[in-house]
């Protein structure tokens, strides 16, 4: 399987206490399990079913995804910038693969 390529967009700097937006995108076909191939057989579901964002080991935001999430899933959400550090992002695939990425922020 082609490896999923994650992309993150967060502000490089933020003031302490500021609510920032985090935008994420990952390349993935998100096979819904509803489609059929040429022979009429169901194509098995293969999606990313879990997305988690943590900061210093603490969960900030997470999402459970079902077959109805579009290919190359996009997810945006917010968090309070408290201190400088790195946000860790993980995507868990139906096949057990885990894709990760991190993004740094400077808080002053």
């Amino acid at each position: 399987m082609a490896t999923a390529k994650p992309r993150i967009k967060i502000p490089a700097k933020a003031a302490k206490g500021e609510v920032i937006q985090i935008k994420t995108l990952i390349s993935h076909k998100m096979e819904s399990g509803q489609r059929k191939d040429k022979e009429g057989k169901k194509i098995p579901r293969q999606i990313i079913n879990k997305f988690v964002c943590t900061f210093k080991g603490k969960e900030v935001f997470s999402a459970d995804w079902h077959g109805a999430i579009s290919a190359n899933p996009y997810m945006s959400f917010y968090t309070v910038a408290t201190e400088s550090g790195a946000y860790e992002f993980t995507w868990t695939d139906d096949d057990g693969s885990v894709y990760t990425k991190s993004a740094k922020i400077t808080v002053n």
Binding site: S32, F61, Y74, Y78, V80
Partner: protein
């Protein structure tokens, strides 16, 4: 007994019937694209929603669901939810669950927030197989549940094919 208690909401008015007649050819194509697939209906969606509600009744308000009224391409429909909440340790939104009552599987996504979220809002993109209602349930930290829904007209279904 109050007469209102027997009222059922069959969400199909004259305009929608006319619309579906007009879009009959599109509907036929969509149906032949998905032969023999079980479709979620109101009952399946209600069953999934009951798992969240657990006997509680959802209240109106506080939650905003931003979806297009008309989606030209059911493969990618912008979905945005926001809940009015202070997002403090004592009072925050635990989760928002999104359902689509006309998709083969009614569940779309669940978003889990924490006080560190700062703002209970999230956006993603979803697939809608046909014209249907999108429903969002917000679970608050105090156990109360708020809900809202919006109808989306889908021109081309996003269900493979």
């Amino acid at each position: 007994m109050n007469m209102n208690t027997t009222k059922h909401s069959t969400k199909l008015n004259r305009r929608e019937i006319l619309f579906s007649l007009g879009a009959g050819s599109v509907a036929l194509v969509t149906l032949t694209m998905l032969p023999g697939l079980a479709r979620a209906d109101k009952a399946a969606t209600d069953a999934e929603m009951k798992k969240i509600l657990g006997g509680k009744t959802a209240q109106e308000g506080r939650i905003t669901l931003d979806v297009p009224q008309i989606a030209e391409n059911g493969n990618t429909v912008q979905l945005e939810v926001a809940v009015d909440s202070p997002m403090t340790e004592k009072d925050y939104v635990k989760a928002v669950h999104v359902f689509a009552d006309g998709n083969p599987v009614p569940n779309v996504a669940s978003f889990h927030f924490t006080p560190a979220s700062g703002k209970a809002a999230a956006a993603t993109r979803m697939r809608l197989a046909k014209t249907q209602n999108v429903i969002a349930l917000a679970e608050m930290s105090d156990g109360s549940i708020y809900s809202t829904q919006a109808a989306v007209k889908v021109t081309i279904g996003g269900c493979g094919g």
